[in-house]
Amino acid sequence: MTTIRQLSIFLENKSGRLQEVLEALGNEKINITALTIADTSEYGILRLIVSDPENGYKLLKNRGFSVNLTDVLSLSVSHEAGSLAKVLKKFSEEKLSVEYMYAFSLGEKAVIVLRTDNRPKAFEIIERNNFTLISEDEIKNL
């Protein structure tokens, strides 16, 4: 069972901060596969899947950002109506909570990234239902 590493960055709601993060990564040729921002009125958490999480983490930390490397799950589902609902149905049947999730689609495939409150249980459900996990190498090459 495999997880992928996600960069989480604490950002105050000030203009220009997001751009600073993106520019810092861009300058080091670190490519972004997926990005999402969740925000409250005062701050936000930027979550990124990137080509080189290790170096991305070091780079942002050295620049003084509050950053964290988080293990999350990534699943591949077919890009058709109802496929994500099927996955989540299995999770909810077993009372597994999703803390957050984001998704994107590419051609016939759709990719979801999520964090749950109980990873071993998530792995169990994924295995039992033959859902397709995506590894860090795979997501890099999408």
């Binding site: 005062e42 979550r47 509050s66 964090r115």
Partner: protein
């Protein structure tokens, strides 16, 4: 007068001045009375005290016991300002050799004049402080205080020289150069304000250096800025040193008023040079040992400008009991804040130190914080911004819980619930001087 005698004992003795440091309390009180009379006689030559003593019919004979000092009224900062610049000067000006001045952000600054005797006495006290924590003439002392009018500069310079240290007047700022000096000259002892000591630790890290491994640092003298025990322990850990509290103020010459000994259990106030009282700030009555009140000091060995029963506005208490170091000089607690740092919100008296203490017990947040008092919808609000050190979680719930826990713990301490705002690390002002932590934007302060 002092140095010649002291430097002969090869600095093997545990005390800088054994007799003055370990005499019995009755002997100390006798010495205090003698010195009070001398001080009174000098003070009576200044225009301000001459007029005051005349009005109250006080003469040297009014003092039969040291407690008779209470016959003299308090001297306040306002008295010093109102009599600026020469009103309290007791010797002809030609006998003064130096003056120091407070920053004087409001109105007249307070200026203190020193004769050569005063400077010698002051330097000796600072040397005594440093000696008590194991600093010797073999040590290299680097002073990161601002020089000029600020007494932490020249005060420590002369004291460390008196002790015989190689003394580096590095002065404030330029952290990378400070660290280069420490490395190049083998600095063992540093004087710094606490917020700057922590800043230095950051700069060591930025330079890829480990103070434990890459320097000979062993002793830090910290003072001039209120700080907590947690902050001291953090400084000790970050820099690999033992850190000792220093206390002083320009009105009482500067550093060298009180200092921690090797046991780090409160600051011995040199009672042969200062008469110590703790009073209730409102009733002005003396308080028993152990109770927090305003520190009142009388200089007992100053001639150019003696100050009697000075209300320092510093809040502290006398720590009851004896210190294992056997010094007779009683210990005061670390200063709990100044009566002027205190702010009042929703009827509660709050000292920034109380909030700082809680932040320092919270590993998820950094050392910097900012308190903003503001009027929101006709009601006073306290906003506390704290820096998130590392993003220890990417889970909102836990970030919200951190803010909630800070809010509750601060409310329990100060009785007012603040609004907590989490800020990015490095985003709050980080001062290399006295940190300004409170902004008051309220309509009716």
């Amino acid at each position: 007068m002092y140095a010649a005698a002291q430097n002969h004992h090869h600095q093997m003795n545990r005390y800088w001045e054994e007799e003055l440091e370990t005499m019995s309390r009755p002997a100390l009180e006798k010495l205090q009375l003698e010195r009070l009379k001398t001080t009174f006689a000098y003070a009576a030559r200044s225009p301000y005290y001459k007029q005051l003593f005349g009005k109250l019919n006080l003469t040297v004979d009014s003092f039969g016991h040291i407690d008779d000092i209470r016959k003299i009224p308090f001297t306040t900062k306002e008295d010093l300002r109102a009599n600026y610049p020469y009103g309290l000067v007791a010797l002809p000006l030609q006998e003064s050799v130096r003056l120091h001045s407070s920053s004087g952000t409001t109105g007249n600054p307070t200026v203190i004049f020193h004769s050569q005797h005063d400077l010698d006495s002051w330097s000796n006290l600072v040397a005594r402080c440093l000696y008590s924590v194991g600093v010797r003439d073999t040590d290299v002392f680097q002073n990161t205080s601002g020089y000029g009018m600020f007494t932490g500069g020249l005060g420590f310079q002369y004291g460390a020289e008196r002790l015989g240290c190689l003394t580096i007047p590095a002065a404030a700022g330029n952290s990378r150069r400070q660290i280069k000096f420490m490395q190049d000259f083998g600095t063992t002892t540093v004087h710094a304000i606490p917020s700057y000591a922590i800043r230095l630790a950051d700069v060591f890290e930025e330079m890829g250096l480990d103070p434990h491994r890459d320097t000979r640092l062993k002793t830090l003298v910290i003072g001039a800025e209120p700080h907590t025990e947690e902050q001291r322990r953090r400084i000790e850990e970050l820099l690999g040193v033992r850190a000792f509290n220093s206390f002083g103020m320009s009105e009482m010459s500067g550093p060298g008023v009180a200092f921690e000994c090797e046991y780090q259990t409160g600051l011995h106030l040199w009672e042969d040079a200062f008469y110590l009282e703790i009073i209730h700030p409102d009733t002005l009555e003396p308080l028993p040992d152990g109770e927090i009140g305003e520190l009142v000091l009388t200089s007992l060995d100053r001639r150019a400008m003696p100050i009697l029963r000075y209300r320092t506005r510093d809040l502290t208490r006398i720590l009851p009991g004896d210190c294992p170091c056997r010094r007779v000089h009683r210990r005061i607690d670390r200063v709990k804040g100044r009566t002027d740092d205190m702010f009042i919100i929703k009827g509660c008296n709050i000292f920034p130190m109380q909030i700082e203490k809680i932040l320092l017990q919270t590993p998820e947040v950094g050392n910097n914080y900012m308190i903003t008092l503001d009027t929101v919808d006709h009601s006073d609000e306290m906003l506390i911004e704290v820096e998130l050190k590392d993003l220890f979680t990417d889970d909102y719930g836990r970030l919200e819980n951190l803010a909630k826990s800070l809010r509750h713990r601060i409310r329990d301490e100060v009785l007012v619930a603040p609004r907590i705002k989490l800020a990015e690390s490095g985003s709050l002002p980080q001062s290399e001087g006295k940190a300004v932590r409170v902004r008051d934007l309220r309509n009716n302060k």
